[in-house]
Symmetry: C2
Subunit: 390 residues, 2 copies
């Protein structure tokens, strides 16, 4: 390794170290950063200068007594320049959001589209248009969108970013990576349920240990253990929608039978509530529930019971700290939360001292796009040098 290369590697590591400390502490002086990191004050000042120039941190202007009585200007993460794009293709909507480096959500747009009826190439083109508009708005606000992550409802090949099979979208072997080359910045692809769990971690309850359930037309789950996403050996963990509720139950699009999705997925729930696909939405079901509609209530009860059965299997297997119900279960929580909890207690209460609490996500359907943007921010925080070099 040449001396220049070694110097660059050390600088990259130190930039990440300093930025990470600023991020973790909220506001901190250069003198304190030197003490915390063990770097010299001169080095810290140079690094902070580079981070300010790159728009990643900003001086607060506020002068206060620093460590050991020395006054100092505090440094914070800047929300004014660098931003991340979160994208989502789901079965019946497209979503984009822009989050700045200080983790403030700056823009959000969703568009109702039946992506089942569209070709993947058209869905991605429509998403591209939506994203282009949002990025233009972001630029008007002085933001520079440095990268994006796209949430898709199916297992993603982590090496290529391609989607082997998203049965609810009707996608099979879709070469997403090449479709996304038209974006003006790099866009990675990630499973929707994983991103929704990360969205909940970074923008939601703040719990460090939970299983987040994304109720959509499919049902995915993301397990967060001590603040980190559990992915499994191939990155396909969390397919809660295909956990077996009844082995000889209704045929599922995945090829199995009696999967949770056939009882508690959006289509199943709306059909049981009296709707035909496309005729009744979750909001309307919630309205009927508020009006005391018996059929809607029974549909929620059946879905919640099935969710309780599948979650009791999940709790037995992975022992999460809490269950967070998101996606369509967020607006329906009033009518399903208790049945889920009762089913869990009936099945698990005798073996376990406490059954994990079942709580509602405050993010709902937004969680995945927020998690997607959050992942870009994590990447910037982990390797700010990559951004400063461009």
């Amino acid at each position: 390794m040449s001396q220049a290369v070694r110097h660059d590697a050390m600088r990259a590591r130190n930039l990440a170290l300093v930025l990470g400390e600023v991020g973790a502490r909220g506001a901190v002086t250069r003198a304190a950063l030197a003490e915390i990191t063990g770097l010299t004050k001169t080095t810290v000042s140079k690094l902070v200068g580079d981070l300010i120039e790159g728009g990643l941190v900003v001086e607060t202007g506020a002068v206060r007594d620093g460590e050991r009585g020395r006054p100092g200007v505090e440094i914070r993460i800047s929300g004014r320049h660098v931003a991340a794009l979160g994208l989502e293709v789901n079965v019946d909507y497209l979503a984009v959001c822009v989050v700045d480096l200080a983790r403030t959500v700056r823009l959000r747009r969703t568009q109702a589209v039946d992506n089942r009826a569209a070709l993947p190439v058209d869905s991605i083109a429509r998403l591209g248009d939506l994203a282009a508009n949002v990025v233009d708005e972001a630029v008007e606000k002085g933001l520079r969108v440095v990268g994006g992550v796209l949430a898709v409802p199916g297992p993603v090949d982590r090496a290529t970013g391609d989607v082997r099979n998203a049965p609810n979208l009707g996608w099979r072997d879709v070469p997403l990576a090449s479709l996304l080359q038209h974006f003006p910045f790099p866009v990675r692809v990630e499973n929707e349920a994983n991103l929704a769990a990360l969205g909940e971690l970074w923008f939601g309850s703040g719990l460090p240990d939970f299983l987040h359930v994304s109720g959509e037309i499919g049902i995915g789950a993301g397990l967060v253990v001590r603040g980190r996403l559990f992915r499994g050996a191939h990155g396909f963990a969390g397919e809660l929608g295909h956990v077996v509720v009844a082995p000889d139950g209704p045929q599922c699009r995945c090829g199995g039978r009696g999967c949770l999705e056939q009882y508690a997925g959006q289509d199943a729930l709306l059909a049981a509530a009296g709707g035909v696909r496309g005729q009744l939405g979750v909001a309307q079901v919630a309205q009927r529930l508020r009006e005391g509609d018996e059929r809607a209530r029974a549909a929620c009860e059946r879905a919640a019971w099935a969710l309780g059965v599948a979650l009791s299997s999940a709790i037995n297997l992975v022992d999460p700290g809490a269950i967070v119900l998101g996606g369509i279960y967020a607006p329906l929580f009033r009518w399903i939360g208790d049945v889920v909890g009762d089913t869990l207690r009936a099945r698990l209460g005798q073996m376990r001292g406490t059954v994990p609490p079942v709580i509602v996500s405050r993010l709902g359907a937004e969680a995945a796009a927020l998690g997607a943007a959050g992942q870009v921010i994590e990447q910037v925080m982990a390797d700010p040098a990559a951004l400063l070099h461009t």
Copy 2:
């Protein structure tokens, strides 16, 4: 922190560092250890001297050309002095084994006992007698047993070591920690299925990513991810036996219905094969299977189908690299392996490019006691100073 305390902490860390490198490399000279660890040769020689004196490592006597041409005596982990005791209380047997620090199994004993019919205090006393005999034999071989771990078939409170509920043993709120105080060395308690998975990791296939299934009267599982056991938020992960096969199926001892254990646990399988509890053992069923007995074959097929259903839920949730069938499924593998694999492929094949391979454990019922002893060895390797101080 005083200077002496700081010195002790540094010495402890360096002892672990040197011992760990010896363990990882098999055989290594003092000069190479100095290069690898960055410690001075004088420090390494002092540390190696302490480890030799404590019986943890040994000079091989073989002299070979060391790094950069210098001759050197190689150091190895010693199997001659320090040893670990693995213990297991299961529903119908007690097991103990002694494993030396070089991970060679030196002694193993099992005793068939119906622990369901015994009080916990009596089961532990009987286990204590069995262990005392084995420890005496170990002492005759020049071994010093420094600690033990006890495997029990139920969730263990990691803080206290007590067992809240092991329904198959009929144990409820058993204060194991105090019962184990009579042992002449510290004995920790750990879930049997977790230890069986670790036994498989350390003494079995050597795979780094797998779900190990312990088929006993209960069915536990241990998930190993990149060489580490996944425990969940409270240490209760892996209760595969209570994953739901059919939500309205037979009543289970856990309080639920239609749990896997009711289809594929030892009692269920033997009953379906035509035996009444205590009248027909797994070995006899295997004999009948070899003779082409139709009822035994149908019993295995039903158990294997249920195992496939529960494992398909588990694979959807945790995405393991492989499934290792242990416990009673090891001797029955010839008659269940294919049905399990077929069930998994039927349920999962459409969603996933490859379904994890289903392989047989080479350790069978021994896995948990071996994993228990292995855990003591891990502890010694992680903190040799604790042993040298005593």
